[in-house]
C-alpha cells in the first residue's frame, strides 16, 4: 500500500495536479509517526510512510494547508474522511482546493498495547491479513492486529469513506457489530457516586497539555475560548478539579453534534484519559433523543445543536433516566 500511495502522490505532484501532499512521516522511531506536508516527489520518496502506526487523522491540517495556492492532496482513512467532510460542511476547508485520496484501512496499531504484549525494541512493522509482524531488535514477533488495535479502531464504525476524489485499495464495509457505546452504557448504569469517582480518577490525571484539543479536527477555532482572556474561561493549567471538569465538559460540548467520533483525542492523550467516552455520550444522547446522526456523513443536514423539533424531549428527561 505504501508504495502505491508514494507512486500516486509523486505522479500527482509531478504533473502539477497538486502542489503539496499531506501524509505521514516516520519520526525517530518507527512507531513515532507524525503528519507531514510533502512538496516534492523527492521528499515523498525519502520520508513518506504508511504503516500500521499511521493512526493520525490528517484532515485537520487541511484548514491551514488548503489555503495555500494550488491543490493539496490528503490521504484519508475511512474515519478521517468523515472529519474532512465535516470540515468542508463548516466551510473550514474549501473542497475545491483539496484532492482527497481515500486509502483502505483495517485498523491501526497501538504501540503501547504491543509493548503490553511483551514486545520490546520495535524497529519495524508490517501487516498482512490481520496479522502484524513486528520487527524487533530481538527478532520478528507476530501478533493478531485485532488484539493491539487503537481504541478507535477496536470500536470502528465503518471502513467506508464518506467522500473522496480517488480511492487506493479496496473500499470497506460498515462495521455491523460495532458496539462503540458499550462503555458509555456501562457508566450510565453505575450510581452517580461511582460515576463521579470514575471521572475524578480519569480527569484528575489531566495535565492540560491541550493535545486532545490540538489534534481534534472539530476544534479548529481561529482562537480557542480557553486561550481567549475575554471568554471568562481562559485557562492555562488545570489548577483545580473544577477546571479539569470545566475544560472537558466545554470541549466536548463545543464539538457535540460535530464530532465524527474519529477517536483522535483518546489516541493522543499522554495521560490515557478515555476522552472519547465524553464525546460518545453526546453522540449517544443525540442519537437517542434526536435521531441517529453521524457528523460528516451528509453535507446538507443540520447539525443537531443548530436544529430542533417542536416535539423534542424536555430537559427533565435527564432526571427520569436512571429512575427505575
Amino acid at each position: 500500500m505504501q508504495e502505491i500511495m508514494k507512486k500516486r502522490a509523486s505522479e500527482l505532484l509531478l504533473d502539477g495536479t497538486v502542489s503539496r501532499v499531506i501524509g505521514w512521516k516516520a519520526g525517530d522511531f518507527v512507531y513515532d509517526i507524525t503528519p507531514a506536508v510533502f512538496e516534492s516527489a523527492e521528499e515523498i520518496e525519502k520520508d513518506f510512510v504508511y504503516t500500521a502506526f499511521c493512526g493520525a487523522n490528517l484532515s485537520k491540517y487541511l484548514v491551514k494547508e488548503s489555503k495555500k495556492p494550488g491543490k493539496t492532496l490528503v490521504f484519508l482513512k475511512p474515519c478521517d474522511s468523515y472529519s474532512f467532510a465535516q470540515l468542508v460542511k463548516e466551510h473550514r476547508v474549501n473542497r475545491d482546493s483539496v484532492y482527497a485520496v481515500a486509502v483502505e484501512c483495517r485498523g491501526k496499531a497501538d504501540v503501547d498495547k504491543i509493548r503490553d504484549c511483551g514486545v520490546k525494541g520495535i524497529c519495524g512493522i508490517s501487516e498482512e491479513n490481520g496479522t502484524l509482524t513486528v520487527d524487533t531488535v530481538y527478532g520478528d514477533k507476530t501478533l493478531p492486529l485485532s488484539e493491539v488495535m487503537l481504541e478507535k479502531c477496536a470500536s470502528c464504525k465503518t471502513r467506508k469513506h464518506a467522500v473522496y476524489d480517488e480511492l487506493l485499495g479496496e473500499e470497506g464495509e460498515e462495521v455491523a457489530d460495532c458496539d462503540r457505546f458499550g462503555k458509555v452504557r456501562e457508566l450510565e448504569s453505575m450510581t452517580p457516586e461511582e460515576r463521579y469517582e470514575f471521572w475524578r480518577g480519569e480527569l484528575s490525571r489531566c495535565i492540560r497539555c491541550n493535545a486532545c484539543r490540538n489534534v481534534c479536527p472539530a476544534c479548529t477555532c481561529e482562537k480557542c475560548v480557553f486561550d481567549n482572556d475575554n471568554s471568562g474561561i481562559a485557562q492555562k493549567a488545570a489548577a483545580d478539579s473544577f477546571e479539569e471538569n470545566m475544560f472537558h465538559i466545554i470541549r466536548a460540548f463545543h464539538v457535540a453534534g460535530r464530532c465524527t467520533d474519529c477517536g483522535e483525542c483518546t489516541r493522543v492523550c499522554p495521560q490515557k484519559i478515555p476522552l472519547h467516552l465524553l464525546n460518545r455520550k453526546f453522540i449517544k444522547d443525540i442519537n437517542e433523543l434526536y435521531g441517529d446522526y453521524q457528523a460528516g456523513a451528509d453535507p446538507d443536514t443540520r447539525p443537531p445543536l443548530t436544529d430542533f423539533r417542536t416535539t423534542d424531549a424536555e430537559p427533565s428527561i435527564v432526571y427520569r433516566r436512571g429512575e427505575k
Binding site: 463548516e90 466551510h91 477555532c221 481561529e222 482562537k223 475560548v225 481567549n228 475575554n230 471568562g232
Partner: protein, 663 residues
Amino acid sequence: MQRIGVFVCHCGTNIAGTVDVKAVAEALKSEPGVVFSTEYQYMCSEAGQNIIKNAIREHQLTGVVICSCSPRMHEATFRKTASAAGLNPYMVEIANIREQVSWIHKDMKAGTEKAIILGRAAIAKVSLNAPLIPGESPVVKRALVIGGGIAGIQTALDIADAGFEVDIVEKEPTIGGKMTQLDKTFPTLDCAACILTPKMVDCAQNEKIRIYSYSEVSEVKGFVGNFTVTIKKKARYVDELKCTGCGECTEKCPQKKVPNAFNLGLDNRRAIYIPFAQAVPKVATIDADYCNMLKNGKCGVCAKVCGAGAIDYKQKDSFIEERYGAIVVATGFNPIKLDAYEEYGYKQSKDVITSLELERLMNAAGPNGGTLLRPSDKTHPHTIVFVQCVGSRCDDGKGKSYCSKICCMYTAKHAMLIREKYPDTEVYVFYIDVRTPGKNFDEFYRRAVEEYGVHYIKGMVGKVAPQPDGKLLVQGSDLLADEQLRVEADLVVLAAAIEPDKTARSLGTMLTASMDTNDFFTEAHPKLRPVESPTAGIFLSGVCQGPKDIPETVSQAGAAASKVIGLLAKDKLTCNPCVAHSDEMLCNGCSACEKVCPYGAITYSDKEFRGPNRTTLIRRVASVNDAVCQGCGACTVACPSGAMDLKGFSNSQIMAEVDAICK
C-alpha cells in the same frame, strides 16, 4: 474606570417596608467603581429623576445603577433621564428590588441582603456596559405585494390609499386569485365577481399601484426598509401596452383544444387567451405549450388578426429590479391533489368533482352557463352527495393534519344554492363535525338544514363506486343512527383540503421568512403579531399564513396594510442597539450562527486579513445586519469560538452578574 452612581428607591413603603434602603445605599457605596450612592422616596418622580440628573453632571458619572422596581416598568424612564443629563441611555442598569425582593420577602434582613447582592450584580454589569448608539436605516417608501388575490388586492388598495406606492406581483395573467373562480360567497350569498371585480378595477386605475401580472419574484436581497427585489416578467408573447383586450385573437386562434385552467379543465379555451371577461389587466396571453406558432413556426393567425399589432412571438422573459421598504406575502392556496384518495373515485369518474369545480359548474360564466349539469353526460343531477374533510384533519399521511376551515361553510352554501335552484334535488352532506364559528355562520348552516332540508349525516364516506348505469354508489356510515348508509348519487362533491401555494416554500427561503411544517408562513407572534413575519419588514396577508375565509382574509389584509403603512410612514428606522456582533478576528466562518438565526440577520463574506510574513489571508467571516437582528442571542451560544457576542447582554456582563451573585 467607570464612575458609577447608585440610586436606591424607597417606592414609598413598597420597597422601604421590607428592605433597609439606607443600608443598601451605604453598602453599595464601597463597591468598586461607585463614586456616589443615595436613596430617595420615589426615584421615578420628577424630583427623583432630578437627583439622578444632577448626580450625573456633578459627579461626571459614566454609569448609573437604579435599585427600584422591575426594569420592565421603568427602564425606559431612567434611560431617558440619563440621556437628558448627557449620559448614554444604555449606561443604565436596574436592580429589581421591588417585584423580586421587597414584595416577596417579608424578612427585612434577608431582603436587605438580597437587595445588596442584586445591586452588586447591576454594578458589576454596568461596569462592563459600553455606550450604545441605535443605528438608523432609511426606508424606501414603496411596498411589494406578492400575490394578487383578494388578500393582495386589499392590502395594495389600503397601502395606496395611505399615499404610498405599491406593486403587485401576480404569477397568473390576471389578478383576482381564487375568488374570481367562486360563484357566490357565504354567508350572504352575494356574487363573488360582483364584489371582487370592482376592487380589481380599482387596483388597475389607482395611480399608486403597479401590477406585474404573469410575473414572479426571482430574488430578494436586503432587509427591512431596504429590500431589492428582482421580478421576472414571464414572456406572454403579447405587448401589454399595445393589447386592447378586444378578444379578436382569442376567437380566431385555430388551436381550440386547450384545457381551460380558469374553469379547472371542465371546458376548453384557445392557445391565446384572456382568462375571463373581467381580467385585470385585460391583455391576451399565449400559452406556449399549445401555440403552433411557438412550437413549430406554423400559424401566426393571431398576429394577422390583431389590429393593434400587439403579438410578439419573439418576446423573452425579462427581469426588473425594484427597491421596496416592505414586502407583503399574499400567495394564497390551492386545493390539494386528490390522486391519493382512490376510495372517492375522483380519477375514475368525471362526476366526482371538487367543490371548486362545482363553483365553476354553477357559475353563469362557467362551462354550462350556470346550469348545474353532470360533467359526464350533461344531465341534471337529482341526488348529490357532499363529502367533507377530504384530506383535512387527516392523520393518514395522505392529507393535512389541520382543518381547512372554509369547507363546512361553502358546503352549506352549495347545498343551499342547489336546493334553492333545483328543489327536486336531494342533497346529502357527510361530515365529521360542522364548524361554524363566525358572524352569522351558524345561522346560515341551520338554514341549510332547517329551511332547505339538506340531509346532514355525521359520518365518513368509505367508498364511492361508479356503477355501470352512470350512478355513483356512495357507501358511508351514519354514526348517530349507527348504521351503514348507501346512497345512489348522480354527483359527488369532495371538499378537498386547501394547502399553501407551491411557490410559498421557495419564496419563504428567499425572504428568510420562517414557515411551519405545512408550508404556511409563521407569524411573529401567534396572538400579538399575527400579520407580521418574524423577519422584519415581511408581512403576511391571507391564506399563506393559515386557512381563512374571505372576511377574515380581508381584515387580515387590512391589518397587514396598516403595519406596512406604519413602517413606510417613517423616514428612518431606529434599530435596537442590543444586537449581536461578530468579532471577525475570532470568527471561523462555520455558519453555525447563521443556522440558528430566526431572522436571517447573519451573512458571510470572504474578507482579507493579514497573515504571517506580510501575506494576505482570505477568511470567511460572519457579519450581523443591525437592522434585522432582534437580539435574541441564539447565535452567541451556537458560536464555538465565542466570536459572536450580544451587545447589552455580553458574555462578560452576564458572567460578571453571575460572579457578583455567587460571591
